[in-house]
């Protein structure tokens, strides 16, 4: 009997010790995978005397599903612009008190007043980038410049596509010359069939794994975001990245605050903390994505600046499209994508 009493007491102590730590103010953050220098989280905890609960998600759709279903209490979400657009339209976000974010003045004007948050009320840009193709120069011949490379049978079994609905459908839509926001059913049908046709050539559908796989020479070609490409090229100099000539996707990720967040104030302070010039530079160092910060941009290292993945030409930027929220028409994409992966 005594043994059991001791055991139970120890257990209770163990459990209680876990509970008491939740009495500090806690900031719950939901972010893309591999998207912040985690040292910054520790520093924020120390500077503000709070705890940070940091969680990651693979794609905005995963994030949206979790938040929409309820049962979560994130204070801060960093996600793609089209998802923010949708959350605004569904009244899922709080308006931000910009008095708490003086660093907002350093965010490049080019990233403000965008269609997804036209009055700049709900979000603060975080990083931006493009969607493109990375390939291994030792395996792939010539100078590819088109979406066609992802459908090239010469590299069958060595191509990686994304397990991300909008991105993969975008590559097919763009290859066919359509808008990546189209709601035209036959265009979506065409893109779906193109992706199904591509399936035998695809090695795997992944999200964050692309980075490591390209660095390790596991695959020859991959659909990829610019930041990952920069990071990969940094570790494997056989790699090269390009934005296809048919036009691609340009995106902005931003921070927003869900409705009824427990710690709105703290979230705003965090946004300000992370958008200081010093911390932005540190984040760039870890994440390798292109920055929205005017001051930080001036101090970005030269090798980054010279990298077209980090710093695409204006021509490419002009030709690129931003994702828009498709509202109820999203179902067309949902169904198309489900068919592609189930095939």
């Amino acid at each position: 009997m005594k043994k059991y009493l001791i055991l139970i007491t120890m257990l209770t102590a163990l459990i209680l010790s876990g509970c008491s730590s939740s009495q500090d103010e806690t900031l719950d953050i939901f972010n893309y995978g591999q998207y912040i220098d985690e040292e910054l989280l520790v520093e924020f905890e120390e500077e503000f005397g709070v705890k940070v609960n940091y969680q990651e998600y693979p794609t905005p759709e995963d994030m949206y599903t979790k938040v929409k279903a309820g049962g979560t209490d994130y204070d801060l979400i960093i996600t793609g612009e089209y998802m923010i657009e949708r959350m605004i339209s569904e009244d899922m976000l709080e308006k931000i008190n910009f008095d708490n974010i003086p660093n907002y003045q350093y965010i490049d004007e080019n990233f403000k007043n965008q269609a997804y948050d036209s009055n700049n009320e709900y979000s603060v840009p975080y990083f931006w980038g493009t969607l493109g193709i990375i390939y291994n120069t030792e395996i792939v011949e010539g100078n590819p410049d088109s979406w066609d490379l992802l459908w090239d049978e010469n590299y069958s079994g060595q191509i990686l596509m994304m397990d991300s609905q909008r991105d993969s459908l975008a590559s097919a839509l763009k290859k066919l010359g359509y808008s990546l926001n189209t709601t035209n059913e036959s265009e979506i049908e065409d893109a779906k069939n193109l992706l199904i046709k591509q399936k035998p050539l695809v090695m795997a559908y992944i999200v964050d794994e692309a980075l490591d796989m390209m660095i390790a020479d596991e695959a020859a070609i991959s659909l990829i975001w610019s930041g990952e490409a920069v990071a990969a090229m940094g570790e494997n100099d056989k790699l090269n990245y390009y934005i296809p000539k048919e036009g691609s996707n340009i995106w902005i990720d931003a921070a927003c605050i869900p409705k009824n967040a427990d710690n709105k104030d703290l979230a705003e302070k965090f946004i300000n903390f992370v958008t200081s010039k010093k911390n932005t530079l540190r984040n760039i160092d870890y994440v390798w994505y292109s920055t929205v910060h005017t001051e930080a941009e001036k101090e970005v290292e030269e090798f980054l600046y010279d990298n077209p993945a980090f710093n695409p030409s204006q021509e490419k930027i002009d030709k690129a499209e931003m994702f828009r929220d498709l509202g109820d028409n999203l179902k067309l994409y949902d169904d198309a994508w489900t068919e592609v992966i189930a095939h």
């Binding site: 794609t59 995963d62 489900t338 992966i341």
Partner: protein
């Protein structure tokens, strides 16, 4: 003691209603209603979600899941039965240790061990690096159905071995000796004495392996590269990404039905469901 003790189980019966029956009922509800039925007033009952399933693509996914699961189960049986048999024949001293050694991998995290196979099978993994070293061409070992089957067999083999081992262990040795004395050769002894007596264990093994094999989503996700998804992956996607809970619920019901049918079929060959687990 007898008449009153049964009340001891009543608290748990309430638990079962809340946490076992009611959730299943909710899934059933979702499967027969439509997506936008957020308010009670607008619930429309429909079989549309099930009808959606009768699309060649989704039926394909189900067939793929069942065939891969069945194949993995059979492979487990062929590999596992001899193992179980041999384990019963080991002398008492080493028996316990060997059994524990057999169990040990199961105590290590399942995801970790599955993930380790990626290190072995990948293009730049152990096997292919070795092949390159010998200047041999690389083999595509990962991100296909074979890798998934390998993963399933690897993970579920112990579950096949244990029921068979238990059944064989309980077997009366004298029966074998008797058959031997009566002049039967080894093969006949196996066919007529050993195997039939171990059948309950075999059936348990088949069930215990087939069930998780047909519904798993981790193994195909990691080792299959998201290419030939199985029904578990489809359900996961529907609930977590596409947010089509109704269709996902319908698929869940279909899986449940399949599993119940499998168990009923195998039950015909007689499992004593109250015999439980005894080590």
């Amino acid at each position: 003691m007898n008449s009153k003790s049964k009340y001891l189980a009543y608290p748990y019966s309430i638990w079962m209603i809340i946490f076992i029956l009611f959730p299943l009922f909710l899934i059933f509800l979702y499967s027969i209603t439509l997506r936008n039925a957020n308010e009670i007033k607008t619930i429309t009952f429909t079989f549309e979600n099930f009808a959606k399933f009768f699309n060649p693509i989704y039926i394909n996914v189900l067939i793929r899941s069942i065939s891969i699961a069945a194949l993995s189960t059979i492979i487990c049986l062929f590999i596992g039965y001899p193992v179980a048999y041999l384990l019963t024949r080991i002398n008492e001293e080493n028996k316990g240790l060997l059994i524990l050694l057999f169990i040990l991998p199961m105590w290590m995290n399942m995801l970790l061990r599955t993930y380790a196979w990626m290190t072995i099978l990948g293009n730049t993994g152990l096997i292919n690096s070795f092949l390159s070293f010998l200047n041999l061409p690389k083999i595509n070992l990962l991100y296909n159905n074979n890798a998934v089957i390998l993963g399933m067999v690897y993970n579920f083999l112990p579950f096949m071995v244990f029921p068979i081992y238990t059944a064989l262990n309980k077997m009366d040795r004298s029966l074998i000796e008797a058959a031997d004395d009566l002049g039967a050769d080894s093969f006949t002894i196996f066919r007529k004495v050993i195997f039939p007596l171990s059948l309950p264990g075999v059936i348990s093994g088949l069930v215990i392996v087939f069930m998780p094999a047909v519904s798993t989503f981790v193994i195909p996700r990691l080792l299959g590269g998201g290419k030939n998804i199985l029904i578990g992956n489809l359900i996961e996607k529907l609930f977590l990404v596409t947010r089509d809970w109704n269709f996902g619920a319908a698929l869940s019901m279909i899986i449940l039905i399949i599993i119940f049918i499998s168990i009923k079929i195998l039950n015909v060959l007689n499992i004593d469901k109250e015999s439980g687990i005894s080590l």
